[in-house]
């Protein structure tokens, strides 16, 4: 689809330079759905609560950063590990067809739902035909 909305992951170079050197990030698993009037982004970020979640929008880039608190105490030693122990980060580029200033965010049970409304100009409109 040529008109596909560009919501692809994109790395912000300034973030990469400043933060990545000290912190390790993973890309959370994400689903993106498109509706007539909005776009919904759903991310799995287990272990992140409201206080450790940072959603920001700047110059067409929507960035979600979620930090996980360390759970294990010093006396616990790891014996088996599958999980990547880092923080979550994902950057989306949001074009002008979406109204990034009206993003609605909802976090529940480690699942973040972002709803971004489309701008009026691109919403489907029914045109009334006048006869006479």
């Amino acid at each position: 689809m040529a008109e596909r909305k560009e919501l692809e992951k994109k790395k912000s170079s300034e973030v990469a330079a400043s933060e990545e050197a000290i912190e390790r990030f993973i890309r959370p698993r994400t689903s993106v759905y498109e509706y007539d009037d909005s776009v919904k982004i759903i991310m799995d970020i287990p272990g992140v609560n409201k206080d450790n979640l940072d959603i920001s929008y700047k110059q067409g880039e929507l960035m979600v950063v979620g930090r996980r608190e360390k759970w294990n105490r010093d006396d616990m030693k790891p014996c088996y590990s599958e999980r990547f122990d880092g923080h979550y980060r994902r950057v989306f580029s949001v074009d002008e067809t979406l109204d990034a200033r009206k993003i609605d965010a909802n976090l529940s049970q480690g699942v973040l739902e972002l709803t971004i409304p489309k701008t009026e100009a691109v919403k489907p409109r029914k045109i009334e035909i006048k006869s006479g």
């Binding site: 759905y33 599958e82 999980r83």
Partner: protein
């Protein structure tokens, strides 16, 4: 037509993401069937820690309600069963044809079994679900805890 900044290193990012997905797949279907360790549509990831007194298991199960979880211990093996429902609005998006753009998250049933090398006290296991992570504490049985023996030298 949207003009996007060209990032020459983007290809590496995509490559590492692809590889990451490969490893995820390896854990969820192909190898798991051979090992018979877990069954289901997907497999949540877990970490195990231990100290002298207990084992600590941390399992990532985002979006799962307590009612959809089943945790049991028998013969020193911890079994976690559960189900992640696809929410109605997500289905809705799919029904409308090509309306979803990306689907990386898993849905459906899962099962993980985890054997412990040392006997655990199955009466005193505690589990706590918080922010999509399940924390399980399994105390070790008294007799398996390390004991300090003093040796008297004459």
């Amino acid at each position: 037509m949207i003009i996007r900044r060209y990032d020459p290193f983007d290809v590496f990012d995509r490559m590492s993401a692809e590889l990451e997905d490969w490893f995820d797949l390896a854990g969820s279907s192909a190898t798991s069937d051979i090992l018979g360790l877990y069954e289901g549509d997907w497999s949540p990831k877990l970490d195990v820690f231990e100290n002298d007194d207990a084992y600590f298991v941390k399992i990532d199960i985002p979006g799962i309600e307590q009612k959809d979880l089943q945790l049991s211990v028998s013969n020193n093996v911890l079994t976690l069963k559960g189900k992640r429902e696809q929410k109605s609005h997500e289905d809705e998006g799919k029904k409308k044809g090509n309306r979803y753009q990306r689907e990386e998250r898993f849905y459906g049933t899962f099962q993980r079994t985890l054997p412990f090398p040392m006997p655990v006290d199955s009466e005193n296991i505690s589990a706590n679900l918080k922010d999509g992570v399940l924390y399980v504490t399994l105390p070790k049985r008294e007799e398996t805890k390390p004991k300090k023996i003093t040796v008297n030298v004459k």
